[in-house]
Amino acid sequence: MSFLNKFYAFLIRDLKISLTYKFNLLIQVIGLIFLFTVVFFSLKEDIQGQVNLNYIYFFLNLASIDFMLSAISVFSREVRTAQIAGTFEAMLLTNTSFFTVIFSSYARTFVRCITRTIFYLIVCKLFFYSEIVLFDMLIVIVSLVYNSIPFIGIGLISASFIVAFKVGDVSTFFIALLAIFFSGIFFPINSLPYFLQSFGDINPLKVGLETTKILIQDNFVFLDLFPYLTVTLIEIILFLPIGIILLNYGFRLAKKNGNLSFY
């Protein structure tokens, strides 16, 4: 309960801070409207009042990349900001655990990703003739969250480098690049040389997308999902504990070096 209360406190804090950047909010809204307008007019000829899952897939791809990039980058970014600003030590002095501070810093980004996904799906329903119901939205969000957990593990590994060494966030860049490359979003995986195609099969982004695509089909069979869910589960079991262990190690190293804060 204490964790949820603190998570909520972080969320409210970050939302209040976001609201002070009015121009930034305006730019984000304009960006979203621009994106939808471009997609709508470029696909208008093809739509013609027909249900076409490809348009939903387009937005699901966007949502998946959003979840992935956020999960990979948010922890290291928030830790770095808090360390530089000096708020990190102040938060730890409230008897709030290091991990509560780290995970709660994901609050706003997490809510933003979910809100955007809902927004994408509503747009799909209103403008792209998709037969999405509330249950679909729920199931899509659960799937995206589940499939972003391996990236949270990777994000924690990245944050551990920042906590301990203050630099070295290169993992975010390369992992994001590789994940997008082997996702099948921009080109089909089977157009790659055969030996590279297997990377796609274990890529959490591609696995997540496949899972979500199956889920939004009307008559999906759970057995079809099983291999994808298993791959993701294995990746969660692999990356999340490694992330937590490394982050804990980085935290202890920073305490030893006396640089939990650095200006």
């Binding site: 406190a9 804090r13 002070t20 938060m91 730890l92 409230t94 030893k256 070096n257």
Partner: protein
């Protein structure tokens, strides 16, 4: 509700581009106890390791050796006031900052609001409570720093230069509130400052930290340091300069028309003795100013 430090040592390592290691010994074999009602005034030159010592007790820095014993540590709230205004979120208001930290302290919203109301009245900041933090002056930010520490009743309180940026009136007001709060609740406290008057007025015990070493001082030793840190400057008529003999080492700091500003060097003399000296010599004193500092003070003498 006591704190026991035994054999605390700390060294920091740094590496240059060629991976050559430099060791910086900051603290060495520090032992002391802090009991309820103790307000330990900790003095020492810049870079002596006062903040490092506090952060070791706060568990923000790991000691290289030794241990800090605090009963039931995980359930104790140690309030910490430093002079770092960056530990607040500048785009939020002072109130929102306090609410956020109050929630991290697991306080119910009702209690946070009540506490903010009481503290803001006591520290006279009602009118700036909802102002964006970045628009506050450094002194006002420091008041919020102190208010944050008192949101929840602390089991221990550590103050690291708490009066930084506060004007004299505000400083006296806030520090006396803090002192009565600490004494009333018998909260063990450590008070670090370069302002020796502040330490003298507020603390019940004294200690010095210099060149890695720590020593508890008795009141007489502390007063000696305090007197030595006095730096009196006297404004006298230029014509009286030749009346001064070699009893004191004299330095003329500046000349101001018909008057001049001088300094007399004698570590053992009190202000009364210095004034008597001018009276004896029939020298007219225009003004006296005390520019306190601990520059050039021989801290090492206390460890011999």
């Amino acid at each position: 509700m006591s704190i026991k430090l035994s054999k605390i040592s700390k060294e920091f390592f740094s590496y240059n581009f060629f991976n050559q290691k430099t060791v910086n010994h900051v603290l060495s074999d520090i032992n002391f106890d802090l009991e309820p009602g103790d307000i330990l005034g900790l003095i020492g030159p810049n870079g002596a390791g006062k903040t490092t010592l506090l952060k070791i007790i706060l568990n923000l820095i790991e000691p290289s050796d030794g241990s800090v014993l605090i009963d039931n540590r995980s359930k104790k709230y140690i309030a910490y006031v430093d002079s770092n205004s960056r530990s607040f979120f500048w785009r939020l208001s002072g109130r929102d900052n306090l609410i956020f930290y109050g929630k991290l302290l697991n306080l119910p919203m009702k209690e946070i609001n009540k506490k903010i109301d009481n503290l803001s009245k006591e520290f006279h900041v009602n009118d700036i409570l909802d102002m964006s933090f970045m628009k506050l002056s450094a002194g006002q930010m420091q008041v919020f720093n102190i208010m944050r520490a008192l949101l929840k009743e602390p089991d221990y309180i550590f103050l690291d230069e708490p009066s930084t940026s506060l004007d004299l009136e505000k400083s006296n007001n806030i520090l006396s509130i803090l002192k009565s709060y600490i004494l009333e609740k018998e909260i063990p406290a450590i008070w670090c400052s370069h302002n020796l008057d502040e330490i003298d007025n507020l603390c019940t015990r004294f200690a010095i930290l210099s060149d890695k070493r720590f020593k508890v001082l008795d009141k007489d030793e502390f007063i000696r340091i305090k007197n030595q840190s006095n730096n009196y400057c006297f404004e006298i008529m230029k014509v009286d300069l030749n009346k001064l003999n070699s009893e004191y080492q004299i330095e003329v700091i500046s000349e101001l028309g018909r008057t001049c500003l001088i300094k007399l060097y004698n570590e053992k003399s009190t202000l009364n003795e210095l004034i008597s000296f001018f009276v004896e010599k029939d020298i007219q004193l225009i003004s006296i100013e005390n520019k306190k500092n601990m520059k050039g003070f021989k801290f090492d003498e206390f460890f011999k």
